[in-house]
């Protein structure tokens, strides 16, 4: 290995640093440190002139590592990276030392303290730079192909977007026909167009596009690999009808003797061999094996003029490779059978809002009149019950966002299909968001429904007439309401995710829908390269679903367009010391760890988000992110002068999360807020990346206190990093207490990126507390 030659570059930053810190004195003191070959001062290293000097030093071979004592590592990274690369230096060998935001700016009033702190900060950076390795980004070849799971409106529109971008798209659909729930709607809001129209348009485009393949009756049964090249195992159930031969003439259904039993309150007249009445893709019959009488019957096969029916067809399994996966499995209605007080399942005229869609579709296309499901008599009085099983801790605790607008839409169906009928809407709060407020106004202005604020207590049926009575309290009028002779009750039920993804994606979210960090990574799941879209992500309307699909398609593009590249800071295990305790596997929030062929834990680099929670959790400290190693951290701590502000002044080592706490400290400096110079910060990828042996090392090396800065519990980008840090720190505190060392010397603060005042307050309070406690008993 070549000799370490560190170039130490001190930046005046046009006086921003130079006015506070005496850089000439600093250069004299630091210039002859071990390994430093060049020490220069410049008014601004980021300027053309500065970069030229820097490049020349590298090119002439005077310098093979760079320590830039200048602004925060969060600033101007690209400029220095490009300069280094153009001179032939690996960008990982640039070490940034934050002299501006966290030294010169906050300590303007105390130049001597700022100077001493600068010495310590540079010592830390030099220690880190001595052990820095040149690293290159990890590149994985990516297949320009995407698997879309679910051929509902989300899956189909994402497929079309992706194919337009030149991607090979495979769509798999569990059901026999594409279109999902939307295909069975009567109309969708706000324009009241028939969903068939939107789907037909999508399908027409998809049929034309040779890049899209759709498999129906197909489910994902296995998933392996990672972003760039997933291997997906698929299982296709037989349709028993060859789609390419079937002409959808319907002769098979005419002779089919097997009828489907009635499942819900709505009559079904479907035979075992069937095709949807409206939108149907593929335009070919499908045979339901559950209902079919089997091969012995065979009437349909005889009747088929195209010989398209093959009753011996078998299930088949096949696999394919995809660069990314979109999970568009959609939603399920909440089980209305659990809403006993509304009589669903007991009374034939109580139906869900989804069933009302089917009813309206049937009635709308057949007679044009709204008829009761029980006896086919015309509907004269209809009641809608909002939030049926929603916003209720015993059922769905959340609001499904669309049910109110759905009811406003369905009230208009009633006006269209049964103009004489009266509609009543029982609601808790009517939530017609955005432009849907217009629908609410229209329904009110045209008197399409009477709104009663109150959640009904019971629905009762008169067995003779099948009419229903609703008991409720009108909470606006403050009086009980008894509504009799209701022909139809529609329960506006909420949305739940379609079950299934649990086996492939562990839910990252705080509710049942598997979405990632709700603002930062809404499409992401625990598996990198697998994105959720549409109602699989959360309840949303059709417009939202199409938007979500476009967003998720873009996410997929980011993985598969070109090679999939990751930063090089991946975890490495020292196998000589690892004793296979599996804690890394347990604690990794992304399930990246598994056994390698030598039976040692190894991370799947494509799943790994490089948060370092494994490094923080390893009891033996044998896992390290590259260029953020425990050895480097130890070296940085050992390089510190723990009494740099004089006897009696505490020294604090602060590990700050680069996502939130470190920017908060930077912001404090930028805004000229002053905090005690006692605090020496080390940026870490996540609070969870701080190994407790490093914390102990800092304490036993003479630090008076250790501060760990993480995010608020539910805001951690890595799910649980700051919570893990808290648990681990509490264990250390407890041990310290037994050792008669004040546990307050170790502290976790939870900061958001703009909490500069909180940071300053916490820093002041911590330093004051340490001052009161006196020097640490663990000081050597």
């Amino acid at each position: 290995m070549e000799k370490t030659q560190i170039g130490l570059y001190l930046c005046r930053c046009h006086g921003e640093i130079g006015q506070t810190i005496d850089l000439d004195r600093l250069a004299k003191a630091m210039g002859n440190k071990k390994g430093v070959s060049v020490c220069r001062i410049h008014p601004a290293w980021c300027s053309e002139a500065g970069l030229a000097v820097l490049r020349e030093d590298v090119e002439e071979g005077r310098v093979n590592r760079v320590v830039l004592a200048a602004c925060s590592p969060r600033e101007k990274e690209i400029i220095f990276r490009q300069a280094a690369e153009s001179a032939g230096l690996n960008p990982c060998l640039i070490e940034r030392c934050n002299l501006r935001e966290q030294c010169a700016w906050p300590h303007r009033e105390e130049p001597e303290a700022a100077y001493r702190k600068a010495v310590n900060l540079i010592n830390m950076s030099l220690a880190r730079a001595r052990q820095a390795e040149p690293l290159d980004p990890l590149v994985f070849p990516a297949r320009k192909a995407v698997l879309v799971v679910g051929a509902g409106i989300a899956g189909l529109s994402a497929a079309l977007d992706l194919a337009a971008a030149g991607v090979e798209v495979t769509v798999v659909e569990k059901e026999a026909f594409a279109g999902g729930k939307v295909a069975r709607f009567y109309r969708y809001f706000p324009r009241f167009c028939p969903p068939g129209c939107g789907l037909e348009y999508l399908m027409a485009e998809i049929r034309k596009n040779p890049r899209i393949t759709i498999y129906t009756l197909t489910e994902v049964v296995g998933l392996d690999g990672g972003p760039g090249n997933f291997q997906v195992m698929l299982r296709q159930r037989p349709r028993f009808v060859r789609t390419e031969a079937c002409t959808a003439c319907g002769k098979c259904a005419e002779v089919c003797p097997a009828e489907r039993p009635q499942a819900g309150p709505l009559p079904v007249t479907k035979k075992a061999i069937y095709i949807p009445e409206g939108f149907a893709y593929p335009l070919a019959y499908a045979l339901d094996k559950e209902v079919c009488r089997g091969e012995n019957c065979g009437l349909c096969a005889e009747a088929c003029p195209a010989h398209a029916i093959d009753l011996k067809a078998k299930e088949r399994e096949f696999s394919l490779e995809a660069g990314a996966i979109l999970w568009c499995t959609g939603w399920q209605p909440y089980d209305a059978g659990r809403l006993e007080l509304f009589g669903y399942g007991r009374y034939a005229n109580v139906i869900t809002s989804l069933e009302f869609e089917h009813l309206a579709l049937q009635c709308g296309s057949a007679s044009g009149r709204l008829l009761r499901p029980a006896d086919g008599s015309p509907v004269r009085r209809i009641a809608f019950i909002q939030c049926a099983g929603s916003r209720d801790v015993n059922h769905l605790p959340y609001c499904s966002q669309v049910c109110c607008t759905v009811t406003l839409k369905q009230v208009q169906y009633v006006r269209k299909l049964a103009p004489e009928a009266e509609s009543y809407v029982f609601y808790m709060d009517l939530r017609s968001t955005g432009e849907y407020e217009e629908m609410y106004r229209r329904v009110q202005e045209e008197g399409m429904a009477i709104f009663i604020r109150g959640n009904p207590a019971a629905v009762e049926e008169d067995p003779a007439s099948g009419c229903l009575t609703i008991l409720a309290e009108d909470t606006l009028a403050g009086e009980p309401v008894r509504l009799e002779n209701i022909d139809l009750v529609v329960l506006a039920i909420g949305m739940r995710p379609e079950p299934g993804p649990e086996s492939f994606i562990e839910n990252l979210a705080t509710w049942e829908f598997p979405s990632g960090h709700v603002q930062c990574f809404p499409f992401e799941t625990q598996r990198r390269g697998l994105y959720v879209a549409g109602c699989a992500q959360g309840p949303m309307d059709v417009a939202g679903t199409v938007r979500s699909a476009a967003g998720a398609a873009m996410k997929a593009m980011s993985v598969i367009s070109g090679n999939f590249t990751l930063p090089p800071a991946v975890p490495v295990v020292d196998k000589n010391k690892c004793d296979k305790c599996k804690r890394c596997m347990e604690e990794c929030p992304f399930g990246a760890w598994s056994w390698d062929e030598t039976q040692y834990p190894a991370p799947d680099l494509r799943k790994c988000r490089q948060c370092g929670i494994c490094e923080g959790g390893c009891p033996l400290g044998v896992i390290s992110l590259r260029n953020f190693t425990i050895k480097q951290l130890t070296g940085m701590i050992e390089a510190l002068d723990m009494e740099f502000l004089g006897r009696g002044e505490p020294t604090v080592v602060a590990f700050l999360c680069i996502n939130d706490a470190y920017p908060a400290a930077d912001l404090a400096g930028r805004q000229g807020l002053s905090f005690p110079p006692n605090i020496l910060t080390i940026p870490v990828p996540c609070a969870g990346a701080v190994n407790m042996s490093v914390v102990v090392e800092a304490l036993t090396a003479g630090a008076d206190g250790v501060l760990v800065g993480g995010c608020p519990s539910d805001q951690c980008h890595y799910r649980k990093g700051s919570d893990l840090a808290e648990t681990r720190l509490n264990n250390v505190r407890e041990t310290l207490e037994r050792m008669l060392v004040e546990p307050e010397r170790v502290r976790l603060v939870r900061l958001q990126a703009d909490d500069r005042h909180l940071f300053v307050m916490e820093a002041k309070r911590f330093v004051a507390a340490l001052r009161a406690l006196g020097p640490s008993p663990l000081k050597p």
Binding site: K631, S693, V696, A701, T735, M739, L778
Partner: protein, 107 residues
């Protein structure tokens, strides 16, 4: 005196087959209680007080009591492991505290 496991802090190394204390114990005395999934010392009188388990426990859940010849139960000897350093805190039965710090690794 043998190790005592703080059952609230011990997480059985996540119910692994061999928790760290079991791996490290030279007398093979530490093991998991199959029911509670917490560690315990299965033969108290065979323990040599080497304190390897105390040092290895990632949760800081194990404590050893000193033999009565050295100190009664108020007395304590507690190790604290850094990356390159171990610090021992010795508290005698009068509450007198002494600390010793050693470098453990020179790489």
């Amino acid at each position: 005196m043998p190790p005592k496991v703080n059952l609230e802090k011990c997480d059985g190394c996540k119910a692994e087959q061999e928790p760290l204390c079991e791996q490290i114990c030279p007398g093979d005395l530490m093991t998991l209680n199959p029911e509670t999934k917490k560690a315990y010392c299965r033969s108290l009188r065979d323990c040599w007080d080497c304190m390897s388990c105390v040092k290895s426990c990632p949760q800081g859940a194990i404590e050893t009591r000193l033999p009565y010849q050295i100190g009664y139960y108020q007395a304590k000897l507690i190790p604290l492991m850094g990356t390159n350093r171990i610090t021992w805190t010795c508290i005698d039965l009068n509450g007198k505290v002494e600390r010793f710090s050693f470098k453990t690794r020179n790489d």
